[in-house]
Structures are given as C-alpha cells and as structure tokens.
C-alpha cells in the first residue's frame, strides 16, 4: 500500500494515521477508562468531594465559599470572578510585589479585619490580607482562625472554648508532619458551626 503514495508525502500519510489512532486511544479510550475506574473506586472524590447541609448538596469541601456576616468564619480575599469565590472563574489577582493597587488593598483589608474582629492590626496574619492563587482556597491559616474565634462565638452565643474545639477539629496539620502547611477548612468548619445551632 505505501508504494502507491509518493515518497515526499509518505510521512504525512503515516502521520495522519498514527494521529487518528492515538487520538482514539489517548483521547477517548484512556480518559473514559480512567473515568470509569475512578467512578467505581473513588466515586465521591471523582465527583468533587461534595458536602451536604441538611441533606442537600452544598458545594465542595475543596472549593472555598464566600461567607459574610458576624456569625461565620471568613475566608481569604479572592480574585475569582468579580465578587470572589466564583467557581466558574478561578483566578489569582496577578498583582506584583510592588503593585500600588495591591499595597492599597492589603492596607484596607488589614484595617477591616482588625476592626471586625476587635484585634490589633499587627495581629492580622498574611493570608487574611492576600488573595490566593486559585481564588477558591478553602483554607485559612490557624492564626487567622484564632483571630476570628471570639467574634464568631460572640455572634452565635456559643462558649469560645466550644468554637475553638471545632476549629481544631477542622485543622489539618502538615501531612506526615512536614508536607505543606497547617490549614483550617473554612467551608466544613462553617457547615458544622451552623449545625451547632
């Protein structure tokens, strides 16, 4: 069969056929097989680690949500979408380390967080005044959670110790003691906080 194709074009004929076969295997069979296996082995994770509140799906434990109001732990600032935490528009701010705009934002956020929680500006940790890479960071640092604990307990009429215990239960340490950073999951923390009444 190859003999009928002019020599100059022979690589293209082989290339077209290889590309077609590879697309069938790598572009359809492989991802569909992985999808099938993932749906059997780890269905909850494959579908986005969804969480429930009062029996209804309420987003994902992995994707940060916006929380406004005294009675919630607040997440980090977010650059995803116009209002932040837009799950269909993940994004960082991409503002540079010397950006005037970022400097102004940081200062404004610092005084706002300090005022909301009744703490000194110097007590506000870095993650509370910076936007994450994804704009969907579900976590805050244990320091930022500590800053907010008294305010949340007060707003909900709960003993601060009880809120602190709940924060501790939603804090992931470093894996194996040294991989990554300690982090508090704001989404699941707030979900369980709401369950306390």
């Amino acid at each position: 069969m190859p003999a009928r194709i002019p020599a100059r074009l022979r690589p293209y004929s082989a290339a077209a056929r290889v590309l077609l076969l590879m697309t069938a295997v790598l572009g359809l069979a492989y991802p569909l097989a992985v999808t099938g296996a993932a749906q059997v082995l780890f269905p909850a994770r494959a579908d986005g680690s969804l969480i429930e509140r009062d029996g209804a799906a309420a987003g994902s434990s992995l994707i940060g949500q916006d929380f406004d109001g005294e009675e919630w732990f607040h997440p980090r600032p977010s650059a995803a979408g116009d209002d932040g935490y837009d799950g269909a528009a993940s994004s960082a701010s991409n503002l540079g380390p010397n950006s005037e705009e970022l400097l102004a934002q940081v200062r404004e956020r610092r005084s706002a967080v300090a005022a909301q929680n009744g703490v000194a500006e110097s007590a506000v940790p870095p993650d509370a005044v910076t936007a994450s890479g994804s704009g969907l960071d579900p976590h805050i640092s244990p320091a930022y959670a500590a800053v907010q604990t008294a305010r949340v307990a007060d707003a909900r009429g709960l003993p601060p110790g009880r809120v602190r215990d709940l924060v501790a239960a939603h804090t992931d340490g470093r894996a194996l003691g040294f991989i990554g950073e300690p982090a508090v999951n704001v989404v699941t923390l707030n979900r369980d906080l709401a369950g306390l009444g």
Binding site: P2, R10, P11, A14, A15, A16, R17, V18, L19, L21, M22, V25, L26, G27, A33, V34, T35, A38, F42, R45, A46, G48, I51, A58, S60, I63, Q65, D68, G69, Y85, D86, G87, S90, S91, A92, S93, N94, L95, G96, P97, N98, S99, E100, E101, L102, L103, R107, R110, P126, V129, T130, S132, G133, S134, A175, F178, I179, G180, E181, N190
Partner: protein, 560 residues
C-alpha cells in the same frame, strides 16, 4: 517542627524518591528505546499505518517524520477547537477564536501549553480530552524521541541512520507515558482530583448564596500534564485550583511527576552509552550533576527570596502569600515553581506574577537558561548535551586541543549547529520582547503597568516562556490579543522545531564519524571538573545574553 526543617524534609523526600527510581526507571527507558522486539499491539499499529518498524531513518527522514507529525497535530487541534460547538461533550462552549485557536494548537503540539484562554470558560470536554490531552502525550513522546536520536548519533559510527521516529514515538507513548499516566491518574483521584464528564452545576452554599462548580475529566489530563512536562491546566488556576491540586501531598506528587522522566533520562543516556561501549554510566551522572547543581541553587534562592518577602506590598501583607494557597505555603510553592520552570512544564500551584522580585526573577532565569535543569522530557537531555558539547569546545579552545565528546570531533559543522541551537531561543525571546515593548498597546495589556520594571518582566516572561516551550506566565499580562496570540505562537513554533532541526542534523553529523580513541590527553567528560565547566558555560552564556534584559526587569525592581 520549624518551618525550615519541614521545608528541607519536604524537598529531601522528593529527592529520595527520585534517587530510588533513578536506576530502575532509567534502565527501563533504555530498554524501551533499544529493544528490537515489538509488542503485538504495536505491530498491528505499524501495519495499519503503513510503517516499516525495522527500517532505520536517515537523520533527514527522521526530521521529516517529526515535522510532518507535528504539522498535522497543529492542524487537527486547530480544527477541533473551531468546531467544538457541534461535537459531543460541548457543555455549551462556543468555538475558539481563530487567533487564539492557532496559538493554542501550536502551544500544545509544541509541548508548551501557554494558555491565553481560561479552561473552564473556553474549552469543551472533548477538546480537552481528545485534543489537548492527546498532544500532552504526543508532544512529550516526540521530545523523548529526538533526545534518543541524538544519543544514537553519539553512539553510532559511520552511518547516518538514527532509528525510526514512529517506533520511538509509539514506544514512548505505550510503554512509558500511558502506563504511568493510568496509574497516576487514579492516585490523583484518590487524592481528591475530580474525574467525571459532568458540566458545570450550581449549588446552594453553606452561607446561603449560590456557587457554580465545574466538572470534567481532570485527573486523566492532570497526570500527563505533569508527566509530559506540558503544563496546560484544565482550569484557569492550573494546579492551584483545588480540583487539580487538592492537597499538599498531591502537589508534591505532581512535582515528582514533573521531574521523574527528565531526571531518569540521564540514566537512560548513561546506560545506552555503557551498553554500546561508547561511554560510561558516569557520563550520564555528570549530565545529571550539572542539571542538579543549577536546580539546587535556584531552589535555595527562590525559597529564600519568597521567605524574605521582598516588595512593598509583600511587606505590608507580612509574607509573600499573594497568589499562594494556604495548604501549600511558601516552600511548596517555591519548590513547584523551580521544578516547573527548570523543566518545560509551566504548570503552577502558585502565581509567579505575585512572587517577590528576586523569586520571580529566578523562575524567569530558569527558563532563560534554556530549561535544562533538568529540562523538559527529552528536550532537557538534548539541550544539556548540546551545552556539554559547547563546554568541550570552549575547553578545547583554551588548551588548543581538538574538542571531542565521547571521541566524536566537534568540528566546524558541529559547532555551527550547536551555535545555531544555542542562539535560537534567545533571539526569539529578545526580538519578541523588543517588538512588543515598541508597540503602543502593550502597556495596556499589563496588570502591573504602574511598576515599570514589573510590567516589562511580564512581557519578557511571556516570550521566555513561549520560546522555551514552558507555558507558565506572569499571568497579569492580558495575552489574548491578536499580537500576543500570533507573536507568542510564532515564538513557540520556532522555539520548538528549529532546535529540533539543529539537534537532528547534529546527530546525523556525529553518527557519521568514527570516534577517535581516548588517549592520555583526552579531556574526561565524566568528572567533576567537566560538570563545573558545563555549569559555568550554561550560566555564562545565558548571563551574557540576558543580563541587560534582566537588569531592566526583575533586577531593577528588586534593587530599587
């Protein structure tokens, strides 16, 4: 445990795993590329495609096959993006605009994965799976094939035959990339990466609002994005997106995937030399040592810069956490950034535009070095071997001896090809940046135009990333314009294929030679002195080429 100790242990774990798989995986890849037996499924594929797998190709035939395959890949990817709205799994996506579709098609075929689009807003599931992810496999296998062809050029004598491109391509895909990807994808899902065919769905949030969450076959694409040093994220936020990089353990695993093939290919190289008698395994180790030296320096520098937190906004925040995720923190972000720019990956778990001036400058420098620390799959090995031959040539000039590498003479033809290889990407980066800066519309595309050196860095980073086939960005640059889509598209195209032309021509030229026997006066190319020379050559050549540009960008910003 202190932060520093945790960071050191984190990096040590990564290096320990790489060390553990180095010999078995490197030797396995050597067997893949030197074995004479074909698997039954491979035989069937060759028959259907009209390929004679046992016919070795002349270097020019090998090159023609590479270029034909890549050209058709670009065309197919372009057409898929332009027609995705009519095809299955469209999930409501419109066709991609022509200039962006061209840019993306070149980008993925050229192993760059520069993305001027936002995945969750532009690409259908079918385009991601059957277009982008397929090229993630194929462009990686093409890079490995070209590297193996260069190694054969060094080994073989009195021939111009370099092997069969189709066989190298098919084996790279079916014996190396696909098996690891299949297992790795399931490990990623176990870690929380999503894998489904659902479209975006709306949920009521805990706090009483609503939120739209995307779905998709993410894990199957995520794994090859890293393993093939491609880097194109399923989502806009790439591996910082919690559906791509849900935990620190997953992120560390992704760094391992990025580094494992480029690092272990140096063992493959050494083993192929040793088996054929053309050299020893220590020649492979010497190449790895040169790569590892620069990688380690860069990692230490970037981590230190991020922890020191330079920049007025960074200092006001108290730490360099803008653009970084809490679960990763500064150290895992710096490690990922060094790995992704030292290879041709360009995936990110944090956003480089918001890095401190020196931290961002160092990841930019990794790309400007030509991505040889340890470099992309295949492209890192052939890039570093070219630099090794250049080091031999410079060393030969100093002592007035004929330069030889593994007994092969670096004569006039060889050094011309080496020089062309070394000059291609700097020319593309500097000319591209120069033209962009001369255009009146460019400052309008910068997010950080108010800080002039940083705005310049955004443009320099874009062309460095494109021409070196990295694909990461100082993402504040609004690169979805006709100029940037076309210009960076050309930089990616020439930055990928011109060096391949020179490498394969060099391989053909080396394969023709009968190696000179080693004598007492032969300069040993497997000892620490040689490693030092290769490191110095890499740093000096890049430094001389890019110092003025770096001085206008990150250096000016960091020192002001």
């Amino acid at each position: 445990m202190s932060d520093i100790v945790a960071g050191l242990l984190q990096a040590s774990l990564l290096f320990s795993i790489l060390a553990a798989v180095y010999v078995p995986f490197g030797d396995f890849m050597a067997r893949v590329y030197t074995g004479t037996r074909h698997l039954r499924v491979e035989r069937a594929l060759y028959r259907v495609c009209g390929i004679d797998p046992d016919a070795d190709q002349h270097w020019s035939g090998y090159l023609r096959a590479v270029l034909a395959f890549s050209l058709l890949s670009v065309l197919a990817l372009y057409l898929l993006q332009r027609t995705q709205q009519w095809l299955p799994l469209a999930i409501g996506m419109a066709p991609v605009d022509p200039d962006q579709a061209w840019n993306t098609a070149v980008s993925f075929a050229a192993n760059t994965n520069w993305q001027s689009y936002s995945g969750e807003a532009a690409m259908s599931h079918l385009t991601q799976m059957a277009g982008l992810a397929v090229q993630n496999f194929l462009s990686a296998a093409v890079g490995m094939a070209v590297a193996v062809a260069l190694v054969r050029g060094l080994i073989r004598r009195r021939t111009e035959l370099l092997g069969n491109f189709w066989v190298d391509l098919v084996r790279g895909v079916f014996r190396i990339l696909l098996p690891i990807a299949a297992v790795g994808a399931l490990l990623l899902v176990a870690g929380g990466v999503v894998q489904n065919l659902a479209g975006p769905a709306e949920y009521a949030t805990v706090g009483g609002g609503t939120q739209v969450l995307p779905g998709g076959p993410v894990a199957s694409q995520e794994v090859i994005k890293e393993l093939g040093t491609n880097g194109g994220g399923f989502f806009n936020a790439n591996s910082a997106h919690p559906f791509e990089g849900p935990t620190a353990v997953v992120s560390l695993f992704q760094i391992l995937l990025i580094l494992v093939i480029p690092v272990c290919l140096t063992r493959t190289y050494g083993t192929m030399l040793a088996r054929s008698g053309a050299g020893t395994r220590r020649h492979g180790l010497a190449v790895l040592a040169a790569m590892g030296t620069i990688f380690t320096l860069s990692l230490v520098g970037t981590t230190a810069a991020e922890m020191a937190g330079g920049g007025s906004a960074t200092q006001a925040a108290g730490a360099a956490m803008e653009g970084k995720e809490v679960r990763f923190g500064e150290m895992l972000s710096a490690l990922f950034a060094t790995a992704t720019t030292g290879t041709s990956t360009g995936a990110v778990n944090s956003f480089h535009d918001s890095f401190t001036p020196f931290g961002g400058g160092l990841v930019l420098l990794n790309m400007l070095l030509g991505e040889v620390t340890p470099g992309g799959v295949g492209s890192g090995l052939y890039g570093m071997l070219v630099l090794a031959m250049l080091a031999v040539f410079l060393g030969g000039l100093m002592i007035g001896r004929t330069p030889e590498y593994l007994g092969k003479r670096i004569g006039p033809r060889e050094i011309k090809l080496i020089a062309l290889f070394v000059l291609t990407t700097p020319a593309l980066v500097l000319i591209g940046t120069g033209i962009a800066m001369a255009l009146p519309g460019t400052p309008g595309a910068m997010t950080n135009a108010d800080v002039r050196p940083h705005g310049f860095s955004e443009v320099l980073y874009a062309f460095a990333s494109g021409a070196n086939n990295n694909g990461s960005a100082f993402a504040g640059l609004g690169a979805d314009t006709a100029f940037f889509n076309t210009g960076i598209g050309l930089a990616m195209l020439f930055g990928r294929y011109l060096p391949m032309v020179f490498v394969l021509a060099l391989a053909g030229s080396l394969a023709q030679q009968q190696p000179a026997p080693a004598t007492g006066g032969t300069f040993p190319t497997h000892k620490p002195l040689f490693v030092a020379m290769v490191v110095a050559t890499t740093l000096i050549i890049t430094g001389l080429t890019f110092f003025p540009a770096l001085a206008l960008g990150p250096l000016a910003e960091g020192l002001s």
